[in-house]
């Protein structure tokens, strides 16, 4: 039993590294998560669920104030929301901070984030439902609530290429996804 445990240990410790998490999470294939059932909290602690934006393209961004690579993207997402937010599109920046809305509000105030509504997942339910093994994690959801892209790590959503992928979804007629690459 001791040898089995040590062999088990060796193999597993030879395995996943933190750098590998991004590799593992990056593929754009559809995952088992059903965005239709994803719920979290708004700034006032009231339930908010992804289906409430049904009919809009949603960019869901899972992040935390303690996550260094997560933070720079918030300013970019603020720009994207200012540019595109409305009846066709919504950025949902979902923080997994244990301290919830006050921590996010403090961060946003200090960093001049003005257009992003506060959403929190302080009990990490949504994070686990999304199988988010690392953050930041971006999930682009089409108007019908289907996952179109899943991107691990910082993503420059205000770049021409990323904006183009958002516009593609906004302008797509209703129907099955075309299998966009991340």
């Amino acid at each position: 039993m001791r040898l089995f445990h040590t062999l088990l240990f060796s193999l597993a410790m030879a395995g996943v590294s933190a750098a590998g998490i991004a590799q593992a999470a990056a593929p754009a294939q559809a995952d088992a998560t059903d965005p239709q059932s994803l719920c979290f909290s708004d700034a006032e602690g009231r339930p908010a669920c992804l289906p409430q934006w049904h009919g809009r393209v949603v960019l869901l961004y899972v992040w935390a104030t303690w996550c260094a690579p997560c933070r720079p993207s918030m300013a970019r997402l603020d720009k994207v929301q200012a540019l595109l937010g409305g009846k066709d599109f919504q950025v949902v920046a979902l923080s997994v901070d244990k301290r919830g809305a006050p921590a996010v509000a403090n961060f946003q105030a200090r960093n001049g984030i003005r257009h992003l509504a506060i959403f929190t997942d302080a009990d990490a339910k949504a994070m686990e439902a999304l199988s988010a093994r690392a953050i930041p994690l971006s999930i682009l959801v089409d108007r019908q609530g289907r996952v179109a892209q899943r991107v691990a790590g910082p993503a420059d959503w205000d770049s021409p290429e990323r904006l183009a992928s958002i516009f593609t979804l906004i302008n797509r007629p209703s129907g099955p996804p075309s299998g966009d690459k991340p």
Binding site: L3, F4, H5, T6, L7, L8, F9, S10, L11, A12, M13, A14, G15, V16, S17, A18, A19, G20, I21, A22, Q23, A24, A25, A64, T65, W66, C67, A68, P69, C70, V96, D97, K98, R99, D123, A124, M127, E128, S131, A132, R133, A134, I135, P136, A152, G153, P154
Partner: protein, 206 residues
């Protein structure tokens, strides 16, 4: 089937297929190898000895957590591209405050003592459960702890300029109250998985 049994079966298959292969499978991109199977099969118990410092400056050793179940894992706070959600997952597991998790503590050891000073770690850990103890030390102390836990890691980049990353395993190690290693918990485990694994070993012990 309990989560830990599933992992054991999958890994047993790997043993049969890849026995003797040094850099096995897994998803590591920057090549942070684990210990060789030969090295791990011999030698002293996993997880001892070590001497580190907590965020309050107090010493932490392999005897500090005796009497409690311990989940130990390694990492650092300056995540380059992505941050593992291990600390959040454990915070969620501890938040339940059920009879199982009340018997458990967690130890987070930084592999980057240069940047993760006690003060830095102390501030960082305020975002997570107080049942998770963060530990740092001198480079030599951290290296010795990594050896004790059979954790291999790689520092890549320019350390002098502060532009470097640390590639490391994300699995968690579970130790019983006697300080004996009993199981690995994969880095992608959910809070429920963590709890179920601990609960299963608690039942086994009684």
């Amino acid at each position: 089937m309990p989560f830990f049994q599933t992992i054991g079966i999958r890994t047993a298959c790997l043993v049969m297929t890849f026995a003797g292969t040094p850099a096995i499978a897994g998803q590591h991109v920057h090549g942070a190898p684990g210990p060789s199977t030969a090295a791990a099969a011999e030698g002293p118990a996993i997880g001892a000895p070590f001497l580190l410092r907590g965020t309050d400056g107090r010493p932490l050793t392999d005897k500090t957590f005796r009497g409690e179940w311990l989940i130990a894992f390694f990492g650092y706070t300056s995540c380059p591209d992505v941050c593992p959600t291990t600390l959040t997952t454990l915070t969620k597991a501890f938040a339940a405050q059920d009879p199982v998790m009340r018997q458990v503590r967690a130890l987070f050891v930084t592999l980057d003592p240069r940047r993760d000073t006690p003060a830095m770690l102390g501030r960082y850990m305020t975002h997570f459960s107080p049942r998770i103890t963060a530990a740092t030390g001198s480079r030599a102390q951290v290296d010795a702890a990594a050896r004790a836990f059979r954790v291999r890691y790689e520092i890549e980049g320019d350390v002098a300029r502060g532009a470097y990353t640390v590639s490391h395993p994300v699995a968690m190690l579970l130790f019983n109250p006697q300080g004996r290693f009993v199981s690995l918990i994969p880095g992608g485990a959910t809070a429920a998985d963590v709890r179920a694994t601990v609960a299963a070993f608690i039942r086994k012990q009684h």
